[in-house]
């Protein structure tokens, strides 16, 4: 992480406006606005099928929105795709990597693909070492466990030092030690001015590290703000309990759990 980003808080790293995605007649994402600033960890919460993956796929340029625009640090993802993509790192929930490459070759390949030219070999070694993959670095990815694949994917996505790092359900498959490592990594990245978007349905993580969260349900953002702010908004509102507020927002039992976790701390 050799490039320091000084200007934090005001710099809009991700600005999604009016994102809509329709699959035939079905609207998976229905008018989502997201803003994530430099130095911020943003949690995108929501039950299964809420549209989290679809939303971040559109934000990273992997999926063309039916309507709406995405800007990465001011660059339009569709029209200035190449420049915008240089700034993004994305680890999807199922990290499909090249099974016939070794971990080291893969990270190196990603570095070359992103045009990293200075100190590429050192960076690859540093990252592999940092994520504890050095011992397995010369093994084919095809033989890796889910967690190892995820860590390899992360190495591949950090090698070009992205300004915006997007992680979809990153802790599925990670052991506690790796999960802790990941959290610390994200905090460090944010402290150095990078922006992080984290999709999850597990609340402890969001609570522990997210500066702000957005709750997505049925393709719409039903609540957005700091964890503390959401909690207070719910308390200060009507006589309803927070749990009821969230259940009403998301209309699902899963979100009930979300709420409980938010209150109890």
């Amino acid at each position: 992480m050799n490039r320091e980003v000084t200007e934090t808080g005001t710099r809009e790293v991700l600005a999604a406006r009016g994102l809509v995605k329709q699959y035939g007649a079905f609207t998976a994402v229905d008018g989502v606005d997201l803003t994530v600033h430099a130095g911020e960890i943003f949690g995108l919460l929501g039950p299964n099928g809420a549209g989290k993956t679809t939303t971040v796929n559109m934000c990273t340029g992997l999926l063309r929105p039916t309507a709406g625009t995405v800007r990465i640090d001011g660059l339009d993802v569709e029209r200035e795709g190449r420049a915008a993509k240089r700034l993004i790192g994305y680890v999807p929930d199922e990290p499909y990597l090249y099974e016939k490459l070794t971990a080291r070759e893969f990270v190196h390949f990603m570095g070359e693909l992103y045009g990293v030219r200075s100190r590429l070999d050192e960076r690859v070694e540093e990252l592999l070492n940092y994520f504890g993959l050095l011992d397995a670095a010369d093994n084919l990815i095809g033989g890796f466990s889910h967690g190892m694949k995820q860590k390899t994917g992360l190495c591949g996505m950090l090698v070009h030092d992205p300004l915006l790092l997007v992680l979809d359900e990153p802790t599925v498959g990670l052991d506690p030690k790796s999960a802790r490592l990941l959290k610390n990594t994200l905090l460090t990245l944010a402290a150095r001015g990078r922006a992080v978007v984290l999709c999850t349905h597990i609340l402890e993580i969001a609570e522990a590290i997210c500066d702000r969260v957005g709750i997505l349900d049925g393709g719409r953002v039903v609540a957005e703000g700091t964890v503390e702010g959401l909690r207070q908004a719910a308390r200060g509102g009507s006589a309803e309990s927070l749990e009821e507020v969230f259940l009403r927002l998301t209309g699902g039992d899963e979100e009930g759990l979300v709420v409980e976790a938010l209150i109890s701390s």
Binding site: K85, L97, Y98, E112, R119
Partner: protein, 554 residues
């Protein structure tokens, strides 16, 4: 006996149902009603087309050789071509059967039923063998009919050809079954398919060498007598039939059929025994793969490297992936092997001393072009057609990359073209210069034509695979849609034919003092250039859409 009949009946009904699904895809009552007629129409039209092809081929051969000096060329070819076909079938049957024993898990299901394992395995063996018989009916029978016509052979020859075409796949498939069962016994399941492919290639190469060497030797020593090497019996049957000697022909054929059935019985019996005794594995190929360390590329320079082209990393990745895919490597190696032997046999000993001229030269030039372009088509079908689909679920990585779709396309095309061009050029230039005594200028011209053809073909096939990829395929299953498998090779074949005609046109007699030869030559480059331009005009758009639309599996 009754139980056997019952088991066989069950398996046959199952097979019939699978077949009817395949041939009559829609199960609406209307489709059911017209299905038999459709099938009949397909058979009639297909049969007519194929016989027309055969007759035309025979005619062309007669014209090319002026009806005279044909026997010295065709008779040896008749002897060894069924053997060559059997070796090729053996190789693909190894691939297909090792899949039957591993990936396609209906075998383990069938083995759990009370049906006798022998019946189940017999069904598998005959299904594989029959599929190759169908292929031979379409591909080889018209050629044989053509050869028969050129030799002025009678009806007996056609019947013998039919029997040969139907019978040759069976012993090849039986041997393949024996081999794959044995290999699966020794290999860990995860490596089974790749391993059998490699060993299959080696065995096929050895068999091909032995068979062809013997084919040659026995032909010289025992011409007219009974040959003791079974591999060339079908060939001898054909030759005898072509000469109108029905007796020897029937004898060779009968012996071959009996031998084939014996071999099939042996293969079924051994396979059933090995499977039942737990000696061989089946149906348990998991996602496991080697955990052993893989040799790393040598450490590279650490200082800032020179700016590499955008497509470079993708080409490098393709190479790293390819060299660890023994199945693909084996598939690529095989046509080269066959090619080498074909050249050796067709142009070997008698002609190297003095260049061929006249009509004969034209015939050889034509077959040189035919086999080079077919090799290119085959190699590129294996290499270029699935090269986008091979990305599979990892395609999102290219979608994330800050690389223009046009460069991704270029990387894929370059990776496919480089080896094929290099290989064919070497082959062609050697043959053309040595055999046909072509001038330097002519050789340069022909190799330029070949480069143009391979380039256009490669671009086109990559593009076809890009339009119909199958990204959800895992591992070694088919990576493009059936449509691409149809459209790609067929359109490629048409392109090869058209270029072939233009090439022939550009060598037409200059005495006519017309511009036609030049126009013909220019046409080649205009056509191929146009295809390349078209692919790079529409391809990047299609690639970009593939990377960003809903078809990409998430």
């Amino acid at each position: 006996m009754n139980a056997v009949a019952h088991d066989a009946g069950t398996v046959l009904r199952l097979r019939a149902r699978i077949l009817s699904r395949l041939l009559l895809p829609r199960f609406t009552p209307e489709a059911q009603r017209v299905a038999p007629y459709r099938l009949l129409a397909m058979l009639v039209v297909g049969g007519t087309l194929l016989s027309l092809f055969g007759i035309t081929l025979g005619h062309f051969l007669s014209v090319a050789f002026n009806g005279q000096s044909l026997r010295p060329f065709l008779l040896p070819a008749l002897v060894w071509s069924p053997t060559a076909a059997a070796v090729g079938i053996f190789f693909y049957a190894v691939l297909s059967l090792s899949a039957t024993f591993t990936y396609r898990n209906d075998l383990s299901l069938l083995m759990l039923t009370p049906i006798s394992p022998r019946i189940v395995l017999a069904d598998k063996l005959f299904a594989v063998s029959a599929s190759f018989s169908v292929l031979m009916l379409v591909v080889a029978l018209p050629d044989l009919v053509g050869a028969g016509r050129a030799l002025h052979a009678g009806m007996g020859f056609t019947i013998a050809a039919l029997v040969v075409v139907l019978a040759v796949p069976l012993p090849a498939a039986s041997l393949a079954m024996l081999l794959s069962i044995l290999v699966l016994r020794w290999l860990p399941p995860a490596k089974a398919r790749a391993g059998t492919a490699v060993i299959g290639t080696i065995v096929a190469a050895v068999l091909s060498t032995v068979a062809q060497t013997f084919g040659d030797v026995t032909m010289r020593l025992l011409w007219g007598n009974v040959d003791v090497v079974p591999a060339v019996w079908p060939g001898h049957a054909l030759v005898a039939a072509a000469d109108g000697q029905i007796g020897p022909s029937v004898l060779y054929l009968l012996s071959f059929v009996v031998l084939s059935l014996g071999l099939a019985a042996l293969a079924i019996d051994r396979a059933a025994y090995l499977l039942a005794s737990g000696w061989a594995v089946y149906g348990e190929v998991g996602r496991r793969s080697s955990r052993g360390a893989v040799r790393m590329a040598a450490p590279r320079r650490t200082e800032a490297r020179a700016r590499r082209p955008e497509w470079w990393p993708v080409v490098r990745k393709e190479w790293l992936t390819l060299r660890r895919d023994p199945k693909l490597l084996a598939q690529l190696a095989y046509p080269l092997l066959i090619e080498g032997y074909t050249f050796y046999h067709a142009f070997g000993n008698p002609f190297t001393a003095h260049p061929i001229t006249g009509r004969l030269a034209r015939f050889f030039a034509a077959s040189l072009y035919l086999s080079s372009s077919m090799t290119a088509l085959f190699l590129l079908s294996v290499l270029a057609l699935p090269i986008v689909g091979r990305e599979g679920r990892s395609l999102y990585l290219l979608g994330l990359a800050p690389v223009r779709a046009g460069y991704l396309l270029l990387a894929k095309v370059l990776f496919c073209l480089a080896p094929v061009v290099a290989l064919l050029e070497v082959l062609l230039i050697t043959m053309a210069a040595r055999l046909l005594g072509m001038s330097v200028l002519q050789t340069v011209y022909v190799s330029a034509v070949l480069v143009a053809l391979v380039t256009a073909l490669g671009c086109w096939l990559v593009c076809v695979g890009l339009i119909w990829p199958r990204l959800t395929s895992d591992g070694s299953r088919r990576q493009v849609h059936g449509t691409a498998l149809m459209v790609g090779p067929i359109s490629g074949g048409i392109l090869c034919t058209v270029i072939g005609f233009l090439l022939a046109g550009s060598f037409a007699d200059h005495s006519a003092s017309s511009l036609a030869p030049y126009a013909s030559g220019a046409g080649i480059f205009v056509l191929t250039g146009g295809i390349v331009a078209l692919v790079f005009r529409i391809g990047p758009r299609i690639f970009h859409n593939l990377l960003t639309d809903d078809r990409r599996p998430v």
